[in-house]
């Protein structure tokens, strides 16, 4: 029920959101490749941050995989900050999912987003129980050092077909207009 165009559009929307929101500085490099692809790191297997975007025709679960290791901790929590890692990371995931939600609102007028919740990565195999029509995992690498993972799980209750145009805004933002 989810067309190839729609799957591709969802993927591009998630990629754009991850690249703009999971990085702490604008200059940071964020690479996203399908999990299991050549050169992809294995997904972190400790914890998951789960967020849901619900619409009338579908629900989309955005799952961010993370290990609370030293490098990840240092990247996301600034030295001077006294905030806990999980608090900061949940806020970042919330912003990332918010960006996906914002983009999807251009095509689906009625959407709502949940608050984030942390689960064990051992829950991953049971995503199939939700009978998703689109399930894809990606290895996310920030600055060739921080290894995260992202999984998109979409359960549809009606046919979904749309083509998202996400590149134009991204490419021109911040550029001078010389005319």
């Amino acid at each position: 029920m989810i067309s190839a165009h729609a799957k591709d559009s969802i993927e591009r929307i998630v990629f754009k959101a991850a690249k703009s929101r999971l990085t702490m500085d604008a200059g940071d490099v964020c690479e996203i490749v399908p999990a299991g692809a050549h050169g992809a790191h294995s997904l972190p297997d400790a914890n998951l941050v789960v967020l849901t975007i619900s619409g009338i025709a579908f629900r989309l679960l955005l799952i961010v995989h993370f290990d609370e290791d030293e490098r990840t901790h240092q990247y996301f929590v600034k030295e001077e900050s006294e905030r806990a890692f999980l608090e900061v990371f949940l806020e970042i995931c919330n912003l990332c999912c918010g960006a996906v939600n914002q983009e999807l609102l251009n095509y689906f007028p009625d959407l709502g987003m949940s608050t984030p919740y942390v689960l064990s990565a051992r829950c991953m195999p049971y995503l199939e129980a939700l009978k998703p029509e689109f399930l894809a995992s990606y290895a996310v690498t920030i600055n060739n050092a921080i290894g995260l993972g992202a999984t998109v799980c979409v359960c549809a209750h009606a046919p979904i077909d749309f083509v998202a145009d996400v590149s134009a805004v991204e490419d021109t933002s911040g550029e001078l207009e010389l005319f």
């Binding site: 629900r59 959407l111 987003m113 608050t115």
Partner: protein, 240 residues
């Protein structure tokens, strides 16, 4: 002699009288003619004036008739106009009543949407219950970990018992059977504990996914109701 004089005087007098009479008649005839001519002229003038008056009267009568006709026409038109004005007034009244009803409905709609936004509280309550359920799940995870730890300990104990039974030789044969049975039970308990752990993980995921769907759906409904309320308010303000 005197008689002659008298007769002469008398005759003179008669002659004078006759002459005077004649002169008087002549003068009278002239005066009469003059007067008649004057009268005829005046009669002519009067006749002309009378004709002019008659023409004027005829003209006035025509004008009067034309005016009466136009008055009648105006009266008819006035009647028609007042009838259509009554119709328009009735239509306007009906339209105003309709507008009032619409404004009332818009107010009701906005109030209903505002009231239903209270459902957000219900969704939040469900979300809080999810947190409570997940806390219970975490508690069960902890108990299962404890159970798993106990089972692992039992396995070690049963292994030790088997070793001790072997050392005891034939005297320990019965004890070896018991130790083996305990180890088998421990293995089954371990399997059960793993299965229970997997069920809890599955439960975690489905519970989280379901309640997040409820929470997100609730926000979607609240946002939609807000836009309905806003539209109803806009509609209401355009009616007033």
């Amino acid at each position: 002699m005197i008689q002659q004089y008298l007769l002469g005087a008398l005759a003179g007098g008669v002659v004078t009288a006759l002459v005077a009479l004649a002169a008087h008649r002549l003068a009278s005839a002239r005066a009469m003619r003059r007067l008649r001519s004057e009268a005829e002229r005046q009669v002519h003038t009067l006749t002309q004036a009378g004709d002019a008056q008659s023409e004027l009267i005829g003209l006035h009568e025509q004008q009067t008739q034309a005016l009466e006709a136009s008055i009648a026409q105006l009266r008819t038109e006035l009647t028609q106009q007042s009838a259509s004005a009554d119709e328009v007034r009735a239509e306007l009244k009906a339209a105003l009543e309709g507008k009032d009803q619409l404004a009332h409905k818009a107010t009701q709609l906005a109030a209903e949407a505002a009231r239903l936004k209270g459902l957000a509280g219900t969704f939040e309550r469900w979300h809080e219950q999810m947190i409570s359920l997940m806390t219970q799940n975490q508690d069960m995870h902890a108990k299962n970990r404890e159970l798993s730890s106990i089972v692992r300990h039992v396995v070690i104990v049963s292994l030790n018992a088997s070793i001790e039974a072997a050392r005891a030789g034939t005297a320990g044969r019965g004890f070896a059977v018991v130790a083996s049975e305990v180890r088998a039970l421990a293995a089954r308990s371990e399997e059960l504990s793993k299965s229970y752990r997997d069920s809890l993980h599955r439960n975690d995921l489905t519970t989280t996914a379901t309640f997040q769907d409820i929470q997100a759906g609730g926000k979607m409904i609240t946002a939609s109701l807000s836009s309905v309320e806003s539209l109803a308010n806009q509609f209401q303000s355009t009616l007033h």
